[in-house]
């Protein structure tokens, strides 16, 4: 008989009656047995036994291998990675650069198990946000302790505020890559007015036109500021209050959707008029002549830092730390800031940017560079840090779970 088409065959296979009652009982019996057997096993504990390594323990005996694997977020280095090319030229060390980090929780979930088990994740250097995942990395002894004798540029050029942060005092495990503010972006043409506070989000005129972030740490921080509590010192009761405020906002239909990195697409495209946003993205949009404006809410906003860290199973930490220090040369920091448009941890870069502006070939370039040098979102002053806080740091996984359970229903519910 001529071979019928795949569809009939496939469909017949699909729709055929499969199992008799006897088979079913037999199978369920089997499954019960397997379950009972497997119940004896669980998922093994994950933290690295043996405690944290000291600097000497980690670095002794290691030599450079000549090649580094560097994992970073998208849009954190210009296409073609000129800074890396320069590094290779100066030191002979080659770098494979991959923009594989899109969301912190996702990156954490994908790397943590391996690191704890002592396996390589394929990278010598990665850029991770200071947040609950950072703390978990540290708690699991998965980040290499940095040998500051190898970081002269950092010591000389980094801003003081980055040398003793609340999430990594003394920069034991990390040094900053770039910092940013989370605030409110808005399109004045659509909103008709300036947006300056979180309370503005409750205006019925903006019903269904507001975008918030789906990341619970970002979302929670805004909720906490909105009810007048500083996230860094907030308690579970505060969290509940914040969650209630956010839930009210959601129930009133104010929020259109929850976003991650794609908030910028939504507000640029007009889906949202006001959005929780990262400062650098808005700055970049403004450079492309977007009408968007950015503001840190009066009640408060968030500052976060993306940090360079070396995984404890890195194959070539010696060269990786060289690269880390390289980024703290003011000239390099300046070119980075010119692309990234986020806060650079090297204040000295500002002079370099101005020097570039003077040497600029076109008026456009000069105007852009001068705007950059003047921007508080790239070179903020001390006062700009006044009303912002970091993410809530958790002292234990249970605490974090409680936090997540309080805020998750707002996004998933």
């Amino acid at each position: 008989m001529k071979n019928r088409n795949i569809d009939t065959a496939f469909l017949r296979g699909m729709t055929q009656r499969r199992v008799s009652r006897r088979d079913f009982l037999r199978i369920s019996g089997l499954s019960a047995a397997t379950i009972a057997f497997a119940a004896a096993c669980g998922v093994k504990g994950q933290s690295n036994e043996g405690g944290p390594l000291t600097v000497e323990q980690f670095w002794s005996g290691k030599t450079g291998k000549g090649h580094i694997n560097f994992a970073n977020w998208p849009l954190y280095m210009a296409d073609g990675q000129p800074e890396l090319a320069q590094f290779t030229e100066e030191t002979g060390i080659t770098v494979t650069y991959r923009e594989v980090i899109n969301e912190m929780p996702e990156w954490f979930a994908g790397t943590f198990q391996d690191l704890v088990a002592g396996k390589s994740i394929g990278y010598d250097l990665m850029v991770i946000t200071n947040g609950s995942q950072f703390q978990k990395y540290v708690a699991g002894n998965t980040l290499a302790p940095l040998d500051h004798s190898r970081l002269p540029n950092f010591a000389a050029n980094a801003a003081d505020s980055y040398k003793n942060s609340s999430y990594d005092a003394g920069n034991v495990h990390s040094i900053p890559w770039a910092s940013g503010f989370t605030g409110l972006a808005y399109d004045p043409e659509k909103t008709g007015r300036e947006i300056t506070k979180l309370d503005d989000l409750r205006d019925p005129a903006f019903r269904g036109r507001i975008g918030l972030m789906g990341d619970l740490q970002e979302l929670g921080n805004f909720g906490l500021w909105a009810v007048g509590k500083n996230p860094a010192t907030s308690t579970p009761d505060d969290w509940r209050e914040a969650a209630a405020w956010l839930q009210e906002l959601k129930d009133a239909g104010q929020i259109l959707a929850f976003f991650d990195q794609d908030f910028i697409e939504a507000i640029e495209g007009g889906q949202t008029w006001i959005s929780q946003a990262w400062s650098g993205d808005i700055f970049q949009a403004q450079l492309a002549d977007s009408p968007l404006q950015f503001a840190i809410p009066e009640e408060g906003g968030t500052v976060w830092t993306d940090n360079m860290a070396i995984p404890v199973t890195a194959e070539n930490p010696v060269d990786a730390i060289k690269l880390m220090d390289f980024f703290y040369e003011p000239e390099v920091a300046a070119t980075l800031a010119e692309y990234i448009n986020y806060i650079t941890p090297v204040p000295g870069a500002r002079d370099k940017v101005l020097a570039h502006a003077e040497a600029a070939e076109t008026d456009e370039d000069r105007a852009y560079l001068e705007e950059l040098a003047d921007s508080v979102y790239v070179f903020p002053g001390a006062s700009d840090y006044a009303t912002v806080s970091y993410y809530r740091a958790f002292s234990s996984p249970e605490e974090e779970q409680e936090y997540n359970e309080i805020f998750e229903p707002i996004v998933s519910g």
């Binding site: 008989m1 088409n5 699909m14 499969r18 849009l75 980090i101 088990a117 794609d262 970049q284």
Partner: protein, 288 residues
Amino acid sequence: MSLQTAQPPAPTADEQPVDRIRGRRRRPRWGDRMLRIYTWVVILWLVLPIIVIAAFSFNDPVGRRNTRWQGFTLEHWGDAFALPELRRALVNSLLVALITMVVAGVLGTMVGLALGRYRFRGSGATNLVMFAVISSPELIMGASLLTLFVSLGMGRGFVTVLIAHIMFSISFVAVVVRARVLTLDRSIEEAARDLGATAFTTFRLVTFPMIFPAVLSGALLAFALSIDDFVITQFNAGLHFQTLPLWIWGSAKLGLKPEVNVIGTLLFLVGVVIATGSAINARRRERS
């Protein structure tokens, strides 16, 4: 997943042309025409996103995002493969799909043969598992595999993705082959045996050529499912291993880069080529 390579039936010899069905009684003509228009409208709707994707592959966006039409350019077509991440993802996707096709093809054919030909204890259970795999939500299969790998402390990457793809492809191949084997004419095989051929020779020279079209269909189906898979792969790829759908997902979050549009259009064109080739082939076979 989608049945991209499902082959629709070639017109059979005994199919009466439309006249039989177009009754001679008061069948209104406008009904026919409405249906025809409707069919074309639906086809247009189905193709619409592809047209948009193709159109915006020629866009010349200002800035980093490809959200508004700015100008016509061919440059993205020129350096579509310049992005190393994209190249890597494409290679990964093809590699996984090819290996899946072969392994699942072999394993699935064996299972299909067994189920279609023999009655044995455990055939019911096997059928049940096949059915369960085909009708299980991808989310569940992906998540449960993740829990297995996590329990075993296995790092996620190429191997885990391959394992997952082979897993869900076996059933599809098996079902296709089984359906064919069920309708196989055993007398030819018996004749071969009577003429002294061993079991293996019979299989090689008689059975296999007869079931080959089904095996090929199943294998191609496995290939297509693997190339397009997103959910199961997302759960099991870990973070250094990217397939094409994963890469598209990641980069499209920032607005569809023109390179993504180029790749999409290319995929579509590949499909057109395969479909046309297959149609021409079928027609040629019809004539002979």
